[in-house]
């Protein structure tokens, strides 16, 4: 490559020759000491995440081992396993845990099944222009407030709402408010978070690989199953982390469209607020924490955590 020396100096990136300045000496020192460089890079973020987040989580878990004085309503720092035992053995907690995990799993499966064909169409069939428009179309609903969208579903599914209006000519009914409405609404809310990573994963699958598979006699289904699916598996898992964990902790959607049903988030919320029992709330919060950790540990090997 030739450098046009006659080009005006402003057009070229000029490396300032400031030998001996503090910046220069710092730069030399840092390039000779990669460990120092690394600790400067990671110092601030780790301080933040460790101090703000991990310390707070640890404190919360310790609170689960304390109790609330029933007279004063203050937390008394007596060590006890009562809260943990109550959460592990109480039938209410078992039922609600099963219900919550069930809802979260169903939402995740529904979202993946819907996201796969759309993401495939966006990444592999649509023209570049259509592709761009589709991404915008998927991203835009994310900006309508979560609450407004949940409330919109309340309106859609209400008696005399648009859903009933659409299906009643065919003899259908609105499911009303309850678990099905919760699952529909949560699937709706988290769908973009599942489509986007899968779309990004599919974009990274080269067309040439799929053509090679076809040239070697692979049919559509076997190409999808043996070539495409293994390549986008981490992206699918990455999407599922969003829908699963966002559903697992939700308590507002279920309040808006879930009728009288409760999820784990509701139990935590009532114990923090109305019942003023933070230790019990912390003990209940352990359930989703453990479930998420188990889930993350299970999917870590797929490399999904690099695809979020």
């Amino acid at each position: 490559m030739t450098v046009d020396a006659s080009a005006p100096p402003t057009r070229r990136a000029v490396v300032p020759p400031q030998r001996g300045s503090i910046a220069r000496r710092g730069s030399v020192f840092l390039s000779r000491h990669p460990r120092v460089r690394l600790s400067l890079l990671l110092g601030a973020p780790l301080f933040w995440l460790g101090l703000v987040y991990i310390a707070a989580l640890a404190a919360l878990l310790i609170t689960a081992l304390w109790t609330v004085d029933s007279f004063t309503g203050q937390i008394s720092q007596t060590w006890t396993l009562d809260n943990i035992v109550a959460v592990l053995t109480g039938s209410l907690y078992q039922t609600v845990t099963l219900r919550t995990v069930g809802v979260a799993l169903l939402v995740t499966i529904i979202d993946i099944l819907i996201a796969l064909p759309i993401a495939f169409y966006m990444a592999k069939v649509a023209s570049p222009r259509a592709q761009r428009i589709l991404v915008i179309a998927i991203l835009m609903p994310l900006w309508a407030s979560y609450l407004v969208k949940a409330y919109a579903w309340r309106s859609v599914l209400s008696q005399g709402g648009i859903f009933e209006w659409l299906v009643s000519p065919f003899g259908g009914h609105s499911p009303g408010y309850g678990l099905p409405a919760t699952i529909i609404t949560l699937s709706y809310l988290w769908l973009p978070y599942v489509i986007l990573p899968i779309y990004a994963g599919l974009e990274r699958v080269p067309d040439s690989l799929m053509e090679a598979s076809a040239d070697l006699g692979g049919g559509t289904w076997s190409t999808l199953r043996l070539v495409v699916l293994p390549m986008i598996w981490p992206a699918i898992i990455a999407g599922s982390i969003f829908s699963f964990s966002l559903s697992l902790g939700d308590y507002i959607t279920v309040n808006i469209v879930g009728g009288a049903n409760q999820m784990l988030g509701n139990l935590v919320y009532t114990n923090v607020g109305a019942a003023n029992n933070l230790p019990l709330a912390a003990a209940i919060a352990l359930i989703p924490i453990l479930i998420i950790f188990a889930y993350l540990a299970a999917v870590r090997r797929t490399g999904a955590l690099n695809n979020l």
Binding site: S27, P117, V125, S145, L191, S213, T220, L305, N306
Partner: protein, 266 residues
């Protein structure tokens, strides 16, 4: 693999149907913002511009939008700095505990918001003894926003490799100069995409916000939650949602253009 015509048609149909389903509730919100009915009757009994007029005169709503903007901008800025630092550290160095750190970054978004919320609430009030305020809210938001910047930047760094940076230092540039003139320009669009997601995440967050905002701080989602079930205010909330969706086209469009300009041909 060559898709047959019917297969392509089927995929296009599925995409169209799902997009229609995605926009159906938004359409309902849009129509209800002009409806004379306050309790979501369908089809709407009449047309009115009352709610649109009210929305633009509602001080509560405008204040809430401003508060949300402040919180989202501040936490996005913090997330951009911390997320960039951590992704350079993790991508350009090999060391023990790297996996643990990337898990640490993901945790605030992977754990349910209510867990993050009560943990931070407990830590701020009883652990540190500080009053909840807009600052505690920004700290909480920045914590879970780091991950979006981190993901975008680390993916970009992985793709870039180090050859250009190596060339820059071979030619005598120090590490600041290399970062300013070589690394940063290549990261810019990743930072934009990550920052946009972080902004959106913070702007719409309600659960962590409930537990970490001071009582005088009303972000837009908190204001919406207060007003959603009031018959006189619910249509105003619809108006605000419509405006937000329309306004969001601008940043998304720019993000797409920047990403599109850099895209490698598939």
């Amino acid at each position: 693999m060559r898709l047959s015509r019917p297969a392509r048609g089927l995929l296009a149909t599925i995409t169209a149907v799902v997009l229609a389903l995605i926009y159906l509730p938004l359409l309902v919100v849009f129509v209800n913002s002009f409806s004379t009915s306050q309790n979501l009757t369908w089809p709407p009994p009449g047309f009115t511009l009352e709610w649109w007029a009210k929305a633009f005169q509602s001080d509560g709503a405008l204040d809430a939008v401003l508060t949300s903007l402040q919180v989202a901008l501040a936490s996005t800025a913090i997330a951009l700095v911390l997320g960039t630092l951590i992704s350079i550290g993790l991508q350009r160095f090999e060391f023990f505990g790297r996996d643990a750190i990337s898990l640490l970054v993901i945790l605030p978004i992977a754990l349910p918001g209510i867990v993050t919320g009560i943990a931070l609430n407990n830590a701020f009030r009883t652990g540190l003894g500080v009053q909840l305020s807009i600052l505690t809210l920004i700290i909480a938001h920045a914590t879970f926003c780091i991950v979006t910047v981190f993901n975008n930047v680390i993916a970009r760094l992985r793709r870039l490799g180090t050859s250009l940076e190596d060339a820059s230092s071979d030619l005598g540039a120090g590490i600041w100069t290399t970062f300013r003139l070589v690394t940063f320009p290549q990261l810019r669009s990743a930072l934009f995409a990550g920052g946009l997601l972080a902004f959106a995440l913070s702007f719409d967050e309600i659960i962590v916000t409930t537990f970490t905002a001071g009582s005088s701080v009303k972000t837009l989602p908190l204001w919406i939650l207060d007003n959603l079930f009031r018959p006189n205010q619910a249509p105003v909330v619809n108006v605000i949602a419509v405006v937000l969706v329309l306004v969001s086209i601008v940043p998304i469009y720019f993000a797409q253009r920047i990403a599109g300009a850099e895209k490698v041909v598939r």
